[in-house]
Every structure is written in C-alpha cells, then in structure tokens.
C-alpha cells in the first residue's frame, strides 16, 4: 500500500492519458479526460496545501520565538488576510482582494524584479571579468545586445543594432535550439521512466 500502490496509480494514470493520444477510442478518451480533470483539481488542492504549509511553518517559528518572528507574523497575517478576503469576498473587479492585488502585489512584484537590474549589473562585473577567451565572448555579446537595443548603441556605431539582431537570430538561436532539444530529450526520457514505473524518486522512497 505504501510503495506499490502509488507506483501502480502513476503508471496506470500515465498510460491512460498517453494511450488517448495514440488510440482515439471514446472509452479511453472519456477516461483520460476525467483523469486530467481530476488532476486539475489535485493541482489546485496542492496550492491550498502549499499555502497551509507556509502558514504552519511560519506559525511554528513564531511560537518558538525564532529570530525574525515578527516578520513571520507579517507573513501569517498577509497570507490569511489575502486568502480569506479572496475566498469569502470574491476575486472579481471591485473587491478588496482585487484592490490589494492591483495596488499592492503588482507594484511590489514589479519593483522587486526591477531591483535585480542593479544587482545583476554588479554581479556581472564580478563574474564576467575577461578571465579567458570564452568569458570575453560572453561579455562582448552581452554588451553588443544591450547597446544594440538602445539608441546610444546606434549612435556609437550604426552597425551595432544589426550585429545585435544577427547574434540573437543566428549563433544565439542555434545554441538555444540545442539547449531546448537537449532538455526536451532529457525530459521525454524522464517522463517515459515515470510512466513505466522505473523512476520513483517523486515518492521519496529509498532505492
């Protein structure tokens, strides 16, 4: 029950969904759609469980009076408040939930991400110093792409925007393509291992 049944559930559910792709029979299609719909419900329930987990972890630390407990109280209040407002009061236009989303969450998220512009520049200065030829190529490409996207680049040298476009559209594209295909082949192999029951790491079992 603890080990075998989860593997059987994974294999059976996986094969039903996969067979629906190769064998378009109504019975398999109905079964497959039902399982996919159930999985959608499971994924939503896992979000709720994740939120509860965040709440439980922070609550335990507040009770233990760990360092930064007052900040964890803030997390608890905001999590419970936002979830409660949304669940009880709705999430549509004109609700308190939507007001907080528009005027608190969106600006905070945008500003948090924009902070990275400053740190990414200082991190790059330390990481990408011209230590060897490959690091130099990386640095030069980054500089060309950055300058090629702003009017200053065109003012320095009129060919810079074209060079930037060519780098993005040819050598960079080729490497990205290699990365995508490589990652997809790896992911396909992992998915196959999962639905034949070879890969069991997701259950936290000891091999």
């Amino acid at each position: 029950m603890k080990k075998e049944l989860p593997i059987i559930l994974c294999v059976v559910s996986g094969w039903i969904v996969l067979l629906d792709f190769f064998i378009p029979k109504p019975v398999i299609g109905t079964l497959s759609r039902a399982i996919v719909d159930w999985t959608l419900i499971l994924s939503a329930a896992s979000f709720v469980m994740g939120g509860m987990s965040v709440f439980a972890v922070n609550l335990a630390r507040v009770r233990r009076r760990d360092s930064g407990a007052r900040y964890r109280v803030v997390v608890l209040v905001c999590l419970a408040g936002m979830a409660g407002l949304g669940i009880l009061g709705g999430i549509g236009e004109g609700t308190a939930y939507n007001w907080i989303f528009q005027n608190v969450q969106v600006p905070m998220e945008s500003t948090m991400f924009s902070l990275l512009a400053f740190f990414i520049a200082s991190a790059a200065f330390r990481a990408f110093r011209m230590r060897n030829a490959q690091a130099t190529v990386l640095l030069l490409t980054a500089a060309v792409v950055m300058l090629g996207n702003v009017p200053l680049g065109g003012a320095i040298w009129s060919g810079l925007p074209s060079l930037s476009s060519w780098l993005l559209g040819h050598p960079s594209l080729a490497a990205q393509r290699g990365l995508i295909v490589g990652a997809a082949v790896g992911a396909t192999a992992t998915a196959l291992r999962l639905i034949v029951g070879v890969e069991r790491g997701y259950l936290g079992l000891r091999q």
Binding site: L9, W38, T39, C78, M82, Q105, S114, I120, L139, A142
Partner: protein
C-alpha cells in the same frame, strides 16, 4: 490628486528601492508582506477558478458523485500535516506525476523536439544558415555525455561551448535590458502617476 491605491503603490515602490541603500526593517517588513500576499493570492485564485467550478459546484449542486474521487484524493494531500499517515499523500501525488508525465511526453516531442529539428533543416546556402545548423549540432554534441569528449566529438563539443557562451551573453544582455525597462517603468510611475499629479494638486 492620485487615489489611495496610487499612494500605496508609490510608497511601496520607494520602500523596496530603499534596499539599494541598505537592508532595513521597513524593507524586510514589506518583503514579508509580499510573500504572504502572493501565497494568499494563489490560494484564492485556485479556490475560485478551479475548486469551486470544477469540484464543489458540480458535486454539491449538480450531484456529480464521481467527483468524490478527486475530492478524496485532494483531502489525502493534507495527510502530510498529520504525524502519522503522511504516506497517503503519495497516492494523489502519484496520479498527478503520472498524468503530467504523459501530457508532457507528447508536448516535448510535438512542441519542442520536432519543430526545433524541422527549423534546423535548412539549405546551407547562406552563412547564417550554416551558423544555425553548426551551432545547433555542436551545442547538442556538448550535452552528449555517453562518450568521452575526445576526437571529433571533443572538437565539436568545444565549438559548442563557444555558441553557448554567445547565447548566455545574449540572454544576460536581454535580461538586463528587461530589468532596466522595469526600473524605468517604476520611475515613470513614481514621477508621472504619483508624485507629479500629487504635487500639481497641492499647488
């Protein structure tokens, strides 16, 4: 005069930018507000967009009793919080993993491998096309670990590294530029939507 929401957004923007000077208690408080609100946001969205229309309404109002199965499986997820019986959460997780493995298996092949391979099969008439074909193949050879990188494979893998470096540089450059766009957007908001109208209203 800007409305209350603009004042809240503007003040939050300034508090978060205060981190550029140094870490401070106000920033840390707002950082934790962000964590809490984000987690609460997704819980409410999932509740209203998935759980209510796909589970609770059909089950309780329309009497689709087959939905007792996903409801029970969903409840099993919460056994993770129990001191005993946490292993029961493996059942819904196993179904979830199996279904998404099968869905992704099709998507990776149809959406990634085949279209990318098809786009790489181009006539080698231009320098650009030669670069694309050579770059893709050499990059792939760099990630081929079933054989030691010696001989022709070693040469190909080393060329692949150069293409990867160009790609990483380009990715870094575009990331920096997108972050700079966000900085400009925030600065524009503070000046033109918050402080500018507020000062104009005070005059």
């Amino acid at each position: 005069m800007p409305h209350a929401g603009v004042w809240v957004a503007g003040l939050l923007t300034l508090v978060i930018f205060s981190f550029l000077y140094r870490d401070n208690p106000v920033y840390r408080t707002i950082e934790h507000v962000y964590v809490g609100i984000s987690a609460g946001y997704y819980i409410a969205v999932m509740w209203h967009n998935v759980l209510v229309p796909n589970l609770l309404m059909p089950l309780l109002q329309d009497g689709h009793w087959v939905l007792v199965v996903p409801a029970a499986l969903s409840l099993l997820l919460f056994t993770r919080f129990l001191p005993r019986g946490g292993w029961l959460a493996r059942w819904p997780i196993a179904i979830y993993v199996g279904v998404y493995a099968a869905i992704n298996l099709q998507q990776y092949v149809q959406g990634d491998i085949l279209p990318q391979a098809q786009a790489t099969i181009v006539p080698l008439k231009t320098f650009g096309n030669v670069v694309i074909v050579a770059g893709t193949l050499t990059t792939l050879s760099y990630f081929f670990f079933s054989r030691e990188h010696r001989g022709a494979l070693g040469v190909s893998a080393r060329i692949g590294i150069w293409f990867l470096m160009i790609s990483f540089g380009a990715a870094f450059g575009t990331t920096v530029m997108s972050r700079m766009s966000l900085v400009i957007a925030r600065a524009y908001f503070v000046i033109h939507e918050w402080l500018g109208p507020a000062l104009a209203a005070m005059r």
